[in-house]
Structures are given as structure tokens and as C-alpha cells.
Amino acid sequence: MLCRVADSLFWMSRYIERAENTVRLVDVTHQTLLETEHSGDGAGYSHWEPTLLTLGDKAAYDTLYSERSSFNVTEFLTFNRDNPSSVYSCIASARENARTIRDQISTEMWETLNKLYLFVKRADAQKVCSESDFEFFARIKEFSHLFRGILESTFPQDIGYEYVVCGREIERAVKTCQILDTKRHMPSMVKKVDDALDAVQFAAILRSCTGFEAFHHEYGSDLDATPVRQFLLLSRKFPRSALFCIKRLQSSMHAISGCPITHFSNTSERLTGRLLSTLNYALAEDVQGKNGDKMIDTIKAELGAIAIAFSRQYMAAEIYDPELEQSQSQS
């Protein structure tokens, strides 16, 4: 497979996952806003700030908008073409990557992505941003699920497929950590006047990861920091937990190289294996309080390093010689 094709498959997949997650974040924040009493747009904005902070987009927002309002943040995260991680930009980038490899992916995959792009491009931004248009967000989520289904049933499950999985799982794990991290930036009450606030916030976080129901299955109704973190970071069953994503990432990486999972043949495999065992062998106390904050930061940083090493390994224009690589990892 051409390096460029691998790169495009990886990024096409990553951008779709990113768009879907951002849509879910925006959608859930809108819904939470409706549950919370707030007066005026200024108060509305305070609910958005944690999202901007955790996505690392606050500075970008402030340079693009003078006014801090719920409307503007929604516009920024959904439609703004100058924001490279807005839903529109992600979908446009996913489509552009798909366009460069149109000959490699199935017609159905391409057409679904193209339809999604046309849908977002033609959407009425004014209406979506002012009226919390659930229908709009639901359609994008459905498109993303549709794409996944089409991928599974039309795309040959060989090396190319593994690149798609790698892109998706890296992005998904990062996003789960980021969404979990929004709690750190959320307004907390000095005195516990309102116990319900924490619960509303955790519920929003779980919903953003589509994990609300699954969480209750695993942990009952205990909407508290530690179980929520345990669930989103360490669950072995929930498909969006960090551990689950990284495990999938590992098996796809090794499917690409053919190296057994007990060894590693390159840096990205070594880093992934190391990160996975940190999560595999973590205890409840490792995700509590400051330890938990640290763990979230570590996962995010390690995933960043893994993505770089992975792309150097397979997608860089440098000429890659598998034999040379083998002798290096053995020595």
C-alpha cells in the first residue's frame, strides 16, 4: 500500500471520529443548558468554557469572536471554516482524504461521506446555532454510524482496514479523555448547595461518550467521580473507554506489522503496549483525584507520541526498509 494511501485512510477515519465526537459534545451541552436555569447568554457561555478549554480551542475562539455567547461557541465548534477542528472542517478534511483515495475505498463509503459533506455544507447555520437543532446533530451521528457500517460490510478487511481502525481508535481514546477532562474545568460549588450539579455534569459527560446507559449497567446509579473515571478509562467492555480503544489499536497495529502482540517491532508498538499495560494493571486509586488527573494527562500525551511514531513508521515519505528495522529492534 502506498504511504500516502495509508496516511489518507488513517486521517479520513480520524476526522470522521473527531467530527462525531464534537457533534456529541455540542449536542449534550445544548441539552444540559436546557436543564439548567440560566439567564442570558453570558451564563450560557459558562457551560461552554470547559469544552473550549479541554479541546484546547479557547484561544482560537477568542481570536475569532469578540462576544462570548452560546450561539457563537456553537457556530465556532460546528460551522466555522477557520476553526480546523470544527465539525464542518473535520468533515471537509475527511472527504478530502477520501477523495485522494477514491480508487481505494468503496463507492458506498465515498458517497456516504460526500453526502454528509453536502448535508453540513448546506445546513442553515443560523437555525442550528440558535435553536439547538437536535435533528441536525442526530443526522451527523447517524451518518457516522452509517459510514462505520458500510466500512464493515464493503471494505476488504486487510491492511487498509487496519489503518482505518488505528485512526479511529486513537482519536476516540483521545476524545474520551478530553470529554472526561471537561469536569476539571466545570464550575464547582464552594459549598455543596446543589448535589444535583455534579450528577448533571457527570451525566452529560457520560452522554457525550454515549456511555450513560452502559455505565448504569456496570456501576448502578453511583454517578460519582471515581466510578465514572474507572468506567471511561478502564472498562474492558465499553467500546469508548480508553483501555478498550487502545487494545483495539494494538491489535490493528500488530496486524499491520505481523509482529506477535507479545513483542514489538517498532516504536509505535512499544509505546502502545506500554500504555496498555499501565491501564490494564491500574487500580481504582490510580484514577482518583490528582492521580486520575495525572493519568488522563499521561494517556493524552502518550497517544500523541504513538500517533507521531506510527505516522513516521508507515506514512512518512522516508523510505522504510523492513529488514533494516528488524535488525535494529533485535539488537
Binding site: L2, C3, R4, D103, E111, N114, L118, I319
Partner: protein, 478 residues
Amino acid sequence: MNITYDHSGFFDEMYQADGTPRPHYAKLVETLSSLSDTDFKTRKEAVELAFLQQGITFTVYGNEESTEKIFPFDLIPRIIPASEWAHLEKGLIQRMTALNLFLHDVYHEQKIVKDGIVPIEVLQSGKHFRKEMVGFEPPKGIYIHICGTDLIRDHKGDYLVLEDNGRCPSGVSYMIENRRAMKKAFPLLFPVSGARSITDYPDKLHKALEYVAPFDGDATIAVLTPGIYNSAYFEHCFLARQMGAEIVQGQDLVVNDDDCLYMKTTVGLKRVDVLYRRIDDDFIDPEVFRKDSVLGVPGLMRAYRAGNLSLANAIGTGIADDKVTYCFVPDMIKYYLDQDPILPNVETFLPYRDKDMKYVQENMENLVVKAANEAGGYGMLIGPHATKAEIADFREKVKKHPRDFIAQPPISLSRHPTYCDGGLDGRHVDLRPYILQSDKVRVIPGGLTRVALRKGSLVVNSSQGGGSKDTWVLNADQ
């Protein structure tokens, strides 16, 4: 639906002068008359939506907003009866054969120049004459493997050759997609239409490329594209996918010290044997041609000259589709084949000859002036439709660079019923058949009919508001 319209004043493809449909259009006229307006419109909208959703688009340069456009497709097919096609086919084979002989000659002995048929200045001043090709024998001696020749019909309905596209002719994917769209829109029309199939074009192209592989056995074939921003990117992908070939960009390729071309893959380098390149000579190898090109592959010419790589089309074919060279094609046919040209050229004036310059300067308002080396309808003047200022501007340009222009009397291109503004009306059309050369010359029975959608316009290029039609070559004469 109503299928009558004013078909007077020009040669009409569907109606004879007396108002009856030509025999080969009779069945179509019958079908269309039985359709309701709404039914037709519904089918048309369905086809347009499908094109957009499938992303069958092209890029318009110099237009920042919405650079991706669908190529407007007209649902009324153009029909060519068998005997008419037999004549065209013979003429195109003759022309293709002569052009390849000409290219071989000008890059070797140049007998045609020595014998005084083609003046040496034509070669010396031709932008696309490649000195790097002098003395080089391309695989199997073929220069133009793929040609798209533009034909038009005059007021009598006679076919004339407007130009030969012997570099990287585009549009063939639309020929195939248009047929597919027609089948979807009018499934019942097809079993009885008698139209010959064109869908095996990619297979024929694949065989033509395999034919020139540097060695026997399984050759790796790749399509070289400038990338997604190129106007024909859709087509490059389409052809690669249909042929099962790799689609590559310059950045994917490298020429090693062994003078072989390789693709960079996730498991190392893989050799490429035949490259169907859709990048012009100028950009293909910065070591030899334009140094600033980032689209090409440094060292590509080394691999080509070493015989480790075949290119289609060969380097240097541009000298044959230069519009000045075009004037000499009838002479070439006589010279190399000792035959009379079956398909005539359009009468052409060459301002670099003094007597033609005088005529062109004096009659510019009645002539079509074209740049000799531009494609896509860029850089051209249609005298009868131009303003005084535009004419004055071209007078200057032609005076300064006589070799860069040619002039022709405007041909009143034939018209074809086309659906516009809610009904049928006559619009000017041309025809681009596709011709492949391998062990022999093959003409694909069909082609791309381009139509100027603006009323009265003679410019059919997609970049200038043209659309296209499905083209049926019939098994019989009706």
C-alpha cells in the same frame, strides 16, 4: 413532451430540413413524445442529484467559490448511424497512424522536413518539441497511445477535424458515466436502442498499456495524477479504479540509482513498469524539464530513457497536437500513407506565413483566433462575437507572436436538441471520439459529445459553460 423546436439555420442532428426526424432518431423521437414533461424533469433531477452525490465533478480554475462543479449532463442522446461511424472510424485510424509515423520521423531522420513537406521552423519553434526525445525509440515505437480527436460538423453535416489531442486527452470517464446515467434514467430505452457498448474502455486501455510494458509478464501499471485539485482528478481515479491500477502522485514515486521507478509503500519500495501519466511533459521531471515542478518525479526521464519504464503517452507528443502542426496533418497522411485524407481539416491560416498574417490582420472580425498551444478554450478570440477592444488586443498579440496563433473561419457547428429552460432547443455540439493504439488502432464506438449550453454559443468546453451528452453509435443505420 413537446419535441419540436426551431431547427432551421444550422445542420440539425435530429431533424432533416423538411421537419421529419432522421431515420436513426425515429425511435428516440417516439419515446420522448410519449413522456410527460413532469416525467422527464423528474428523471433529469434524479440524474443530477446522482452526479453530485457521486462526486462526479470537475474543477473550474480561477473561480474561488465552489470550485467543484458537476459537468452538466443533457438527457437527450446524440445518435450516429453505423455507416456514418464506419466513415469516421476509417478516418480516425488513418489520422492516428499518420500522427505516430510523423512523431517517429521528427524525432529521428526528419524526412518529412528534408522532403520539404513540413517547414523546419514548425519544429524549431514548437513549444512541445522535446529535444530530449531525439534519437530515442519509445517502447514498440508508439508515441500516442491514447488520442481524443475533436470533430465538428459544418452546415452541410460534413465531419471536420478541429484538433487532435495527443497529450493527455480527458473526458473519457464522462463518456462512461453518461452512459451509466442514461441507463438509469431510461432503462427501457436501452435494450432496443441498438447503441454499441463503450463500457469496456478501461479494459482496452489496460491492454494498451500492458502492450508497451518493458518486459513480458505481469507489469505494474500506475496512473500518475497531479492530485485532487486537478480538473480531471475524478477521471484519473475512475480510470485507475476501473483498470485495477494504482493511482499515484509525484510524491509517491522515486527513481533510484538503478534507474528504475518505484512507489513508496508501507512495506518498502515497489517497482512501477508502466505509467499512464496525466501530467504534461513540462511538469513531469524537474531534473530535465521545469525545475520548479513539484508534481513530477526527479529522474523519471532517466528511467524512461534506460528502458525500465514505459510512458503513455510518450514524451514529446505535443508537437503533433500543436495547432500549427495540425495544418500539416493532411499532408502527412499523403506523405506517409500515400492516401487522401478521409476526414478533412478546418481551413486554417498560419500568421507566421506573411500572406496569412496579412489576411488574418485584415479579417480578424470574421475569424476565430486560437492560441497554438492552449487547451480548454482558454486564450481564444471569436471574431464575430468580440468587441473592438478585444480584436485590437488580439491583433497586437498575433503580430508579436505569430507562431503562437492560428486563425480559422468560424464553423457553424451542427446543433442538437438539448433540454434548456423547460423545453427542447437546438444547441451547438462537437464530438470527441477516443482512439487507442497498441498492436493496432482501435476507435471506441462512442465518444464524448460536448454541447454549448448557452444559446448561440460555439464554445463547448466544460471550463466555459459546456455540458455533455451520451453518444450512441448504432449497430445499424436506424
